[in-house]
Symmetry: C2
Subunit: 332 residues, 2 copies
């Protein structure tokens, strides 16, 4: 193969906001698969908020990326060469090959696309890790009960959009929180949430009060910070808060939770979770999500940038909230 691999490595750890200069583009030989491994040409790279944590020096819930290492990331690609009997050239596989054009992985770290009828990018979005994250937060912590009110922050994002639609499918009242009228319109009109609070338009706790006249039973939290505080002012007894992300604190800011008294008085369950802790539940989650996507019950939007080189700036935009739906890079 005369083709070269193109990859992006972590060049420097960010201090505060991520900057494209934290990354470096490299040209290297295409890797060669060993026994039991598969060589994949990446078509799509998924960009997700968790990546910010991996760039830090300190411990996160998963190993950090070392300087000079290829940046981590979920990918969808095509098998180019296989040294495992379970995979053949031409098959589409989901994996974690990172920010590069070609990657090698052991067969067990790859999943064949389960259903060719879905758009292939769905396996990185609503029927992939972000969708499973939404599903898991309800399964493990939130619990969806018909008639209850479920609030979702980052409601127009890859995880939040699925979370709200799962809540609707379960017969809940779904209330989104998003930044700006365009996102809020999308959340209510296209995704079918019952209401959406524009956190840029005024005090969140007042808008939440109006949007949740019966209080809040479940909060799927992608941001923590002030919005979590506002939610704690409106929670019902025995409310559940699934703490999925802390976009408001990924850069190291201290984002204390106030209204602690509400946690006690209302017997709130606040729990962090990581979607990869329960890999045993993924097949069930993906089956269910793919069914919803295929039937049009879960809809999504994508923001796509072209070429691996676009990944750094696209991640910065994602982390700054300039995002709509699932953010993807078309690699090849």
């Amino acid at each position: 193969m005369s083709e070269k691999n193109l990859r992006i490595v972590l060049a420097a750890r960010p201090a505060g906001w991520v900057d494209p200069s934290n990354f470096r583009l490299e040209e290297t030989p295409v890797p060669v698969p060993g026994e039991g491994e598969v060589l994949v040409r990446v078509r799509w790279l998924s960009l997700d908020p968790y990546m910010r944590g991996r760039m830090n020096e300190g411990r996160s819930y998963a190993a950090r990326v070392e300087l000079g290492e290829v940046m981590v990331g979920g990918t969808l690609g095509e098998v180019v060469a296989s040294r495992h009997p379970g995979f053949a050239a031409g098959e589409l596989v989901v994996g974690h090959l990172g920010w590069q054009r070609f990657g090698v992985a052991p067969a067990k770290a790859l999943m064949k696309v389960p259903d060719p009828r879905l758009p292939e990018t769905a396996w990185l979005g609503a029927a992939g890790m972000p969708g499973v994250t939404a599903w898991m937060g309800f399964r493990e912590i939130g619990g969806l009960v018909a008639g209850q009110t479920v609030v979702v922050s980052s409601a127009s994002g890859a995880v939040g959009s699925v979370a709200g639609q799962l809540a609707k499918i379960a017969g809940c009242r779904a209330v989104g929180i998003a930044g700006g009228a365009a996102k809020c319109d999308y959340v209510t009109k296209e995704l079918g949430f019952d209401a959406c609070v524009d956190y840029k338009a005024g005090p969140v706790h007042e808008s939440l009060k109006a949007a949740c006249p019966g209080g809040i039973d479940v909060y799927f939290d992608n941001v923590a910070g002030e919005i979590l505080e506002a939610v704690l002012r409106r929670v019902n007894a025995r409310a559940r808060i699934a703490l999925c992300g802390l976009i408001s604190g990924y850069n190291g800011e201290d984002i204390p939770i106030r209204n602690v008294f509400s946690l006690l008085v209302n017997r709130v369950r606040l729990q962090g979770f990581i979607v990869s802790d329960r890999m045993d539940l993924w097949p069930e989650a993906i089956r269910e999500l793919a069914g919803h996507v295929g039937a049009g019950r879960i809809r999504y939007r994508e923001t796509i940038t072209e070429g691996l080189e676009s990944a750094p700036a696209s991640l910065v935009a994602l982390l700054k909230g300039e995002n709509f739906g699932k953010r993807l890079v078309r690699v090849s």
Copy 2:
């Protein structure tokens, strides 16, 4: 009956710390039981931190005490007259007759002392509401796993002392947090905790680090505030925090939770609970606790003041941490 009832009513709501002037002593006729009711002469009044919340104007997890109403409280007393076939004069009953010498209650709101062999005050302490609170925090949230490390704040108090001993019985490492060397000595030497951190002796997070070399798996939290923050710096993955009380915030101070990132990274479950939410579990809890008390596996200490008139100052002392074990008032 020529005897008079003596009772203490809420005279004014506290602004910040409770003051004895918030209460008023009254002499009234002894109440007369109606059909299905029982008249009880109170022997013992239990003083507990939750009382602070009931004195506030705002909503708490239970109805507030109105101005002029008898202050609420758990009691142990003797049946004086019964208009219910299930109770007879002379029997000892646990109930919620409040801060008064005589009280009337419907039969269903009273529990006969289940075992005459235990000291009667145990039914207001280790084998009563405080003990059940400790038991419930582990049953509903904490989960005791042999070999794990359990930290308990207010470790010398009525709830904390039982919590730590239940942890030891379950085969856990129990680490207390208490104020001062005398309390810490009691916690380790008399109650059998493995270690006790004196929060008055230095930075709590450093002492906690030394006392919990393997990290913290369960935190039974009676205080919130800074100690909770210190615990969040030491929690292990999948730690559970049972939020039982907020002594540090009962006066309305804002006590934010910092180290929120730890909640996510470590998938911590932080949950408030109220012991009265699961009344269905009380019989099991009391049976188990009474067994431990009877067998000497759970030990306790009491701070007793004499006479109903002593209750206001005694509650103030309790809330200020000048407390050792279970605080009781000998009413008659």
